[in-house]
Amino acid sequence: MLKLNDVMAGYGSTTILHGVSLEVNAGEIVTIVGGNGAGKTTTLRVISSLIRARSGQVQFEGRDITGMKAHKVVEAGITMVPEARQLFPEMTVLENLQMGSFTRHARAHYKEKLDEVVGLFPRVAERFSQQAQSLSGGEQQMVAIARGMMACPRLMLFDEPSLGLAPIVVKQVFDVVRAIAAGGTTVLIVEQNVYQTLKIADRGYVIENGEIVMGGEAEQLIGDDHVRKAYLGI
């Protein structure tokens, strides 16, 4: 479904990604795990076209989407739930969801998606008329995920959705990610919370210094010596 082919990218004159290749098949939960500054966010930014790849290709459903305008990528069926939520702070929760449903395709399914989201996040529905900035961190993360779902994506990208949340909320977030995947949306999630992410993922990649150093079945990675030493503290 999604394929990155030897992608190089960076900011200004620094190169961050030194040829990243990876693949996500339809129906999977795939994760990219790695430490702070390894290049996880940068990888997702390339996929969603917030930044340009210097070289290499991004293919989605057989189509080359490298260098496509960011808003076109959303229309193509990829939605990202960005790092640190990035809600529209001075808009209400409902308005944030309406923004999620911006593309023509999404707007046609607005009602049913809203019902689905309300079913999944009853707490969010209680806060519809509140400004997004007035919510707690956990609630904001739920709104960010709900907003992403409103776009009716076929592939959903999550950038560290568990970051900065209390353990109980972290568990809720991972449950939601699993529910979204069970609903038929393909998921690519990047995380530093290696253990819990590998637990819900089908496959995983390990990224270090802008390079994929390892990849395989999630269970296999959990058992891997390097992964256990470097990321699981075992």
């Binding site: 917030l50 960011a70 808003h71 939605t79 990035q86 809600l87 529209f88 808009m91 923004m99 911006f102």
Partner: protein
């Protein structure tokens, strides 16, 4: 008592004029994060257009709105697309040079075409005085007040009730998140600039029958609009409206009781006081206006 009433009415009408001009300026700043120093020249060019349309077709100046409003809108869009967007990722000082440069270019272009003389758009009865008690104002001024209320209310409704309006606000609050929603932010910026320019297009139609038109007229009207926008809180539409009315009233009262020479001193004195005690302006939040990378 009647004098007080007259001054209040005049102040509100002057404030209404500043409101229409300032709302456009503050909207562009709040969303595109650009201070458009050519905003006054948009007004000036629009006033020349009003003059040309009115005299060429021999119509009532308000009829020129049909042409001037779309023309101003397109002018704003083109400036955003051709001048601002290519510079959007560069240093903010460059943006200042760009809009100041545009302002100077437009003034000189108009000097070249029309010369330094003053042009008078036919007033078509809009300078007719209206008397309320012993208070007096012009028909055209009353229309400005009505339009200001309509424009501020209309823009507010547009920004909160329509999908395009909401996406404009979303883009202003978080540009990259807006892109992730599928919003074409470069289009949103063009539309926003267009609306900002259309505000002065409307202002031009209202002002031209009452004031003479010349290449410098934009500077005259817009200097106080910058004061209004900063005083109200950069990017705040409510702030622009309230500050416009304050400045309008202060201008009227100080002008009447202290004389035209002293009034600017009072206006800028109040402006400085606001800045000292509320640097973010009356309605400016602690909102982070920087682009989120």
């Amino acid at each position: 008592m009647d004098l007080v009433f007259t001054n209040i009415v005049n102040g509100l009408m002057l404030g209404a004029l500043y409101a229409i001009v300032s709302v456009g300026l503050t909207l562009v700043f709040g969303i595109v994060k650009v201070i458009n120093f050519a905003h006054g020249e948009f007004l000036m060019v629009s006033m020349f257009l009003v003059y040309l349309v009115t005299t060429f077709f021999g119509v009532h100046p308000y009829f020129s709105l049909i042409l001037v409003l779309p023309a101003a809108f397109v002018m704003g869009m083109l400036v955003q697309r051709l001048l601002i967007e290519p510079l959007q990722n560069s240093d903010e000082h460059i943006m200042i040079f760009a809009t100041v440069g545009l302002s100077i270019a437009l003034i000189n272009l108009m000097l070249l075409i029309f010369g330094p003389d003053i042009l008078n758009t036919p007033s078509s009865g809009l300078r007719q005085p209206v008397n309320i008690g012993s208070g007096m104002f012009l028909t055209g001024q009353l229309n400005i007040l009505i339009c200001a209320i309509a424009v501020v209310g209309g823009i507010h409704l547009f920004l909160t009730r329509t999908q395009l309006g909401r996406s404009i606000r979303a883009t202003g609050q978080n540009r990259s998140a807006a892109q992730l929603m599928g919003i074409n932010v470069s289009w949103i910026y063009m539309v926003t600039f267009g609306i900002g320019a259309a505000c002065v297009g409307l202002a031009a139609v209202l002002i031209a029958p009452l004031y003479p038109t010349s290449p410098e007229v934009g500077q005259y009207f817009v200097l106080l609009s910058f004061v209004v926008v900063v005083m109200g809180g950069l990017g705040s539409i409510t702030g622009a409206l309230v500050a416009s009315m304050i400045i309008g009233l202060v201008d009227a009262f100080a002008g009447f009781y202290l004389g035209a020479n002293v009034k600017d001193l009072v206006v800028f004195g109040i402006f400085l006081l606001v800045l000292i005690f509320r640097p973010q302006g009356l309605f400016g939040g602690a909102r982070n206006l920087s682009h989120v990378s």
